[in-house]
Point group: C2
Chain length 186, copies 2
DNA sequence: CGTGTCATGTAATCAGTTACATGATTCA
DNA sequence: TGAATCATGTAACTGATTACATGACACG
């Protein structure tokens, strides 16, 4: 089974909203899917060329004064088909790798204070995320009319908010447990 | 800043419990850290060679009849140092990529039923995980004496259980919302 | 007689990150 | 004057997955 490159579908998906350049794609991705998906220029530009070569997109050149040209990409019918087709396919299970848990799993070899620090850091980070999710929710509901698109978008934000809330609870529980461990016991 | 290979620390960490072969490492990882970390033979064997070349492990050969030799790796003092050092370092933030959310984000382009199916599948999967976590918890508490090691281990399992419970809640909430969308509205 | 386990590995490929390169404009 | 933004890209490297290769034994 060939590995399907998912980055290409991320790009096709964003292009489905409206035609834009690689530079715009990066910005759009940062503003919308950043909490669960991101792409780098070093992948975006080559993939865009590839998509065009495969007939999934077409491109036009916009000339500007004193600025580099903008290459505007738009979906073709074939591109739309590929996107819809991918969306409908079952989600392939993804790799979970969690460095915090890996360190905790081996935490026996270091003072408890180290793990407490890691978990506290992690908790801080989740709080920052919570705020970011709240701001994103607000901006979606304010700037966008109630539509299917905004509903789906909010669902992805809820996912993040839900998980980070659960993780904060886990942190509190964990910190309480770690507080009861001390370095003298086995 | 050079990327630090985390796989090597996973291997060093497992070896910290007791010396073993690459084959054993794979099995151990599957039995203990599987829900948040896994490694493949194609990475394990080359990394073991590398670790030995760097003096973090030593290896001895166990001959067997009618079976290939077993190469048993053990941590050196330097290996212990590298492991402890890594554990104490701050956790580097990790990439989040979530294909389900990516599909959901673009779900506007397909019938609502598609998304409902995806979310239901995901919910089923979380239920399976919940059961697996429960079994793992039971086996840890039954087979291992109460120790710091088992406490840390249980913390990692709690993490998974906690997140998957939150995700089940998110699924329920999401399914309710998707049920109210229909394909005629914008 | 086929599947699974034990036990090691290599080769090829794909994905992702970092660093490098260019060059104008705007803003503090 | 220096940093940030606009806008494109390439090269090198590291990480991870898949497929391939070998060969004996045990179990049903």
């Amino acid at each position: 089974m060939a590995r399907e490159n998912k980055s290409r579908y991320a790009l096709l998906g964003i292009l489905s909203f409206h035609p834009m350049s690689g530079y715009d794609l990066k910005k759009q991705i940062e503003q919308t899917t950043n909490h669960f998906w991101h792409e780098d220029f070093a992948q975006i530009y080559p993939i865009l060329k590839q998509l065009e070569a495969e007939g999934l997109t077409t491109s036009t050149v916009e000339k500007q004064e004193g600025r580099p040209e903008r290459h505007i990409y738009a979906l073709t019918e074939k591109g739309w088909g590929a996107l819809r087709n991918w969306i409908a396919k079952p989600v392939s299970s993804q790799v979970r790798r969690n460095e915090l848990l890996l360190k905790l799993f081996f935490a026996d070899h270091v003072p408890v204070a180290v793990s407490i620090e890691h978990v506290q850091q992690f908790r801080e980070f989740q709080l920052v995320l919570q705020e970011a999710f709240q701001r994103l929710k607000d901006s979606i509901t304010q700037q966008h009319p109630v539509s299917k698109q905004s509903t789906y978008w909010l669902l992805t934000v809820n996912y993040g908010a839900c998980v980070s809330q659960a993780l904060i609870n886990w942190c509190d529980d964990t910190l309480a447990q770690l507080g009861q461990l001390d370095d003298t016991t086995t």
